[in-house]
Amino acid sequence: MKNTAIHIESLSKRYKEVQALDQVSIQVEEGELFGLIGPDGAGKTTLIKILVTLFSADKGNARILGMDTNDSKASIRKIIGYMPGRFSLYPDLSVEENLSFFARAFDTTIAENYSLIQSIYDQLKPFKDRKSGALSGGMKQKLALCCALIHRPKVLILDEPTTGVDAVSRKEFWQMLHEIKSQGITILVSTPYMDEANLCDRIAFLQGGKILSIDTPSNITGQFPWQLFAIKSQKKYELTEWLRAWEKVSYCYAFGEYLHVAFSDYDIQMKELKEYLLAGSISDAEIITIPPTIEDTFIYLMENGNSR
């Protein structure tokens, strides 16, 4: 039986007219890599700021390794690593000065926990005397991660570390997170990129301050209730319009070069679908059945108001 690393119970927070968080409850186990998935404005940053003791909630409570975020701020700050969404380092200090600053702030040294950051910091070492403000985006991100880890936190909390980062660098960043997890550190990470959900042990879908669903990625996609078809045609616009006009279609969205389509009527077979497309003079359609993606499921849950 694993212990709970992050306990979030019925958290609510309101800013004037906006309900940023509405009764959010999440349990993250020790050693887990947990993803908060949702678009801008879903409440991800508000939730994270409460967990790292920068904000207080209006209602509900949150505990990190048993410590309450209202009563034990100082103790929590010692055992968490926090990487905010915006670049958080001192741009006028060099790479190495930033790292030693954070080490000293946490009463440790770079040497003491060097093994934890070595594989990441090795890539920065050639530029250790460069001012951090003059680093590329990818390097800034790696340095920020090193600074968040320098005191070997028990829980690492990252707010949208991959937003605005290209697809290749995003993959690299997730590999680093998996290495950190393998050292026994619990990780809570937020992201607006749905495809990153598959790289987490469990995820929470957040939308409009509410939890849409919490589960493993494979159980989440299991919530998509219909057989999903992926259809491709040169006449993409006509294909979309023709399918949206069919009353049996319950779901129809573009995914790259394919259109993902589902029917609330379970009996729709490939044959009937092909005949319908032919009736709309779409004769080149390539149709395959596919398992739903995380993004299909998020859209389904958004549209069907399945919030808990």
Partner: protein
């Protein structure tokens, strides 16, 4: 078909660093052109040159019929631009933002009124037109920013990661707007980190270390690299060397 963006050997050097290295391509009227590349590959430098904000070191480019080196002001007046931050005035109402952008682009009183009515009816903003922009949902801000980038009817609009952070439904609705604008003859020049969106473009270029390493329709690129998605094409190409630093 009319060529709206014409780029020939366009180069920008910062000291000894070549951010954009003799790139050449053309974009036609009404085309959706995806401009991809890893962070640091030189996309932003190229976009800034094409929008008249940065003078090239060498090479030429004409945008909407004007030379980016010698007619930068005319380029700026004849293009639309929307950044990921949307550049809306959060403390002004929707109406005030429309009036402001109409004024900046020198529209007459009547034109301003007409465009304003068009935007309001198209996006059904009647009930919120006098609300401060900071109080409206992100998806609406995004649509408003796009409408304002088009308020002076530019021939080409530059969209710099316009869909970052929005929910998956809003993201797709935004692409409906892009298709509609392209259908009306506006040339779309767009950057994105969502590789599924690369598939929605008519043609795509991929920049690596200041060079255009691939250029073609999504299906041409997938065929030539023998992979089945633009994500795979990007993963094969995009990791250069300069952007490591």
């Amino acid at each position: 078909m009319e060529t709206v963006v014409k780029v020939n050997q366009l180069t920008k050097k910062f000291g000894s660093f070549i951010a954009t290295n003799a790139i050449s391509f053309e974009v036609k009227k009404g085309e959706i052109f995806g401009f991809l590349g890893a962070n640091g590959a030189g996309k932003t430098t190229a976009m800034r040159m094409l929008s008249g904000l940065l003078t090239p070191s060498s090479g030429q480019a004409s945008v909407a019929g004007f030379d980016v080196s010698t007619q930068a002001e005319l380029v700026k007046q004849n293009i639309g631009y929307m950044s990921q931050k949307f550049s809306l005035y959060e403390d002004l109402t929707i109406q005030e933002n429309i009036d402001f952008y109409g004024g900046v682009y020198g529209l007459s009183r009547q034109e301003k009124k007409d465009r304003s009515n068009d935007i309001v009816s198209k996006f059904q903003l009647e009930t919120v037109i006098h609300k401060l922009v900071r109080t409206i949902p992100l998806g609406w801000k995004q649509k408003l920013a796009f409408a304002l980038a088009l308020i002076h009817k530019p021939k080409v609009v530059f969209l710099d990661e316009p869909t970052g952070g929005v929910d998956p439904i809003t993201r797709r609705q935004f692409w409906d707007l892009i298709y509609e604008a392209a259908h009306d003859g506006v040339t779309i020049f767009i950057t994105t980190h969502y590789m599924d969106e690369a598939e929605y473009c008519d043609r795509v270029s991929i920049m690596v270390d200041g060079l255009i390493k691939a250029l073609g329709t999504p299906s041409e690129l997938k065929t030539s690299f023998q992979v089945d998605s633009m994500d795979a094409v990007f993963q094969l190409l995009a990791r250069g060397t300069a952007n490591k630093i």
